[in-house]
Amino acid sequence: MTDYTPVHVGSVTKYVMVESFEITPADLAARGYEISKGVMIKETCFGLVINGKEEEVDRIVAELRKIDPDHIFVKDRGFPPGDARRCRANLGGARPGYNGLEFEMSILPYVSHGLEVLDKKDAKDVPPPEDPLEHPLLDIYKLKKLIDAQES
């Protein structure tokens, strides 16, 4: 067993994802570098990874969100950018955890559409989504229809 000495103690890391036809990660990175003071910004294929003091990272994230609020998404990350335990440059293949991001990236266009619609519309006027815990019984007429379809 060897001693572990952490790096970047007291810092936070955030992902900034872009799901937009108008903004690219490079645009965001350029804007991020313009307004950053003492933070580390890494440009990736899906957006940015920003590491630094919490207040400074939050300020940059808030500024970046203003560029395209409905198409920029932010989440926390445990590891700093380029950490050898996570970076695919060291491990090869997709970064552990990327599968989850990749799956949610396929859903982001629907969420972005929802945010755009709700900018103009009150959330109270939108009907609730289906309750996932509700398992409706099979309607008897639907069952009869299925049996008839099989028999014919």
Partner: protein, 148 residues
């Protein structure tokens, strides 16, 4: 600001929505960050040491596999600290080994046991669902009050 537990705890969409509407998301990244930034013994990749399954005994019995108890040492404190929860039920991305699967079941069970405001959803499958999904989250988070 209300502490909102999200499931899947790694969800980008839920983490963003909770922060966007002025609350604090409790996600696995913050729990991992605590361990990554704490000095101790080297235990890559997640700095989960043999101490974690012992801490997990608070939420799972000793017969339960160490994988579940180790994971619960990350999620258990967050479930205890949360004041509201958003759960996505058809989150296939949370699929994993038996350790992950059983931990997921236990997380949902503990959240259901807790008497807190809870929103249950499925991922949207089209744009219409997307509007309902975002509206439901917005209504829920606004109803919690105290947004930043």
């Amino acid at each position: 600001m209300v502490k909102v537990f999200i499931y899947p705890a790694t969800s980008l969409i839920l983490s963003d929505m909770v922060a966007r509407f002025g609350h604090t998301p409790l996600s696995s990244a913050t729990a991992i960050r605590e361990r990554i930034q704490t000095a101790g013994l080297e235990s890559p990749p997640l700095q989960i040491t043999p101490e974690e399954p012992k801490k997990g005994l608070k939420w799972a019995a000793v017969e339960v596999p160490a994988g579940v108890r180790g994971r619960m040492s990350l999620y258990g404190p967050m479930i205890e600290a949360c004041e509201a929860a958003i759960i996505i039920n058809d989150a296939d991305l949370a699929f994993g080994c038996m350790g992950c699967a059983r931990t997921n079941e236990l997380i949902k069970f503990l959240v259901h046991q807790k008497d807190i405001p809870r929103l249950e959803l499925n991922y949207p499958k089209n744009e219409e669902d997307g509007v309902k999904f975002v509206a439901a989250i917005k209504r829920f988070l606004t109803g919690l009050g105290g947004a930043k």
